[in-house]
Symmetry: C2
Subunit: 215 residues, 2 copies
DNA sequence: TTGATATTTAAACGTTCGTTTGATACAAAC
DNA sequence: GTTTGTATCAAACGAACGTTTAAATATCAA
């Protein structure tokens, strides 16, 4: 093969279509024939390049999912670089924007969350890989950014729960786009994404706006 | 068949094991043979009682998932009946407890969220059914309870986003139990569930605790 | 007890699955 | 020109799939 002048090798096409199909349908619902047809190559190519279907899945997760997660993390830090890094609202806004607006196309973001959610429901070896190599470092970095902003309650667990709650909103408004769109009544266009980011920051900082007599 | 003296009929056993298997593995990963073996009946029983595999799935969702969602809703209202119904913290606590502690066994709750999450990733006809018959009425009821507590910002959309944010935490801390457990460092025992409920209420009411100079 | 109906059974249907095989094409190396 | 290694191909393998069939069995009112 020529070294890497063209990235659309059979191997790369396989990884690309495998990701789309596995994300949309799930591992068991996608056949090797479906993948190789979409990648315009021979049925045996999966076994030649990756050994078997399962190993193709693992390589796809490592070479596509994790590198994209890295792009989100990079985006988070770039968002933060242009702002006041010691402000809690800056950190939260940078986080929410990295996920909800972020460097990913709508399609990429959809696949990204579909794949991760499938792993959450029924973890495979890919989940362990992602947990140790991507999630934990990300949580650590996020914790380092946020802890200086939090009032020190002396309760490490509470701090973690607060961080996880922010993440829960970011993830929810990303992954449940279809039902959220239906409930709110319009699509995930750019103004609405801005609105969502603003809402997440505000909710994280002060919760829901209450009437004084109903606490 | 005798009317309903014993509920462990072949039909009911099929619905029961189908739910567990579909939740754990997903529709495509479960074979009819696996279901009928687990239900200790003949391979043809699925087609005799339900016509085909897909219809078994739909019946399972209607007769098991939705009736259980109803139990959660009932639990929410019972939780609320014993408290100050006009207090926002009471409403949020009743909601969080209904889901996180709730009337379901750990196994039931796991299946419940696994099935719903699979529908969120890749909706089937079951999702439409659940959305109109279960989710929308639930959201309406929750809105009626919460709106009197919220300061009237005159912004209907913001109110909806606030409600969805509370729901996002409730769902996240339920459905992502495995990674949350790993991150926090211990299991979902009763004290931790109480802790979670308390955290969700507090976070919803006032967000994260901040140092004054880092807003 | 009989006849009708409901349910269960073993066996087979045709299809699709993941994987393997052996042949072929095409480079660069010697 | 031959060798060597990489890549692709069509064809076939056995296994498992969802579904169908027809016979056997169970149930129960008349």
């Amino acid at each position: 093969m020529s070294p890497d002048n063209k990235s659309a090798t059979t191997r790369n096409r396989l990884l690309e279509v495998a990701e789309a199909l596995f994300a949309q349908k799930g591992y068991d619902a996608v056949s090797v024939r479906e993948i190789t047809n979409a990648a315009r190559c021979n049925l045996a190519a999966v076994n030649y390049h990756f050994g078997n279907k399962k190993t193709l899945y693992m390589h796809m997760f490592r070479e596509r999912w994790m590198s994209r997660a890295q792009r989100i993390l990079t985006c988070f830090e770039e968002n933060l670089a242009g702002r006041d890094e010691t402000s809690s609202s800056s950190v939260i806004q940078a986080l929410a924007e990295a996920f909800i607006k972020g460097p990913l196309t709508d399609e990429e973001r959809l696949y990204h969350f579909q794949l991760m959610t499938r792993e959450l429901i029924k973890p495979t070896d890919a989940f362990e890989m992602v947990a140790t190599e991507t999630m934990r470092p990300f949580l650590e970095k996020l914790g380092q950014r946020l802890k200086p902003c939090l009032s020190d309650t002396g309760d490490e667990e509470r701090t973690l729960l607060n961080i996880l709650s922010i993440i829960s909103m970011v993830i929810y408004f990303n992954f449940a786009r279809v039902p959220v769109s239906k409930i709110i009544g319009h699509a995930y266009d750019e103004p609405f994404k801005d609105r969502l980011v603003q809402h997440i920051v505000q909710f994280s900082l002060s919760g829901i706006p209450l009437r004084e007599d109903t606490r």
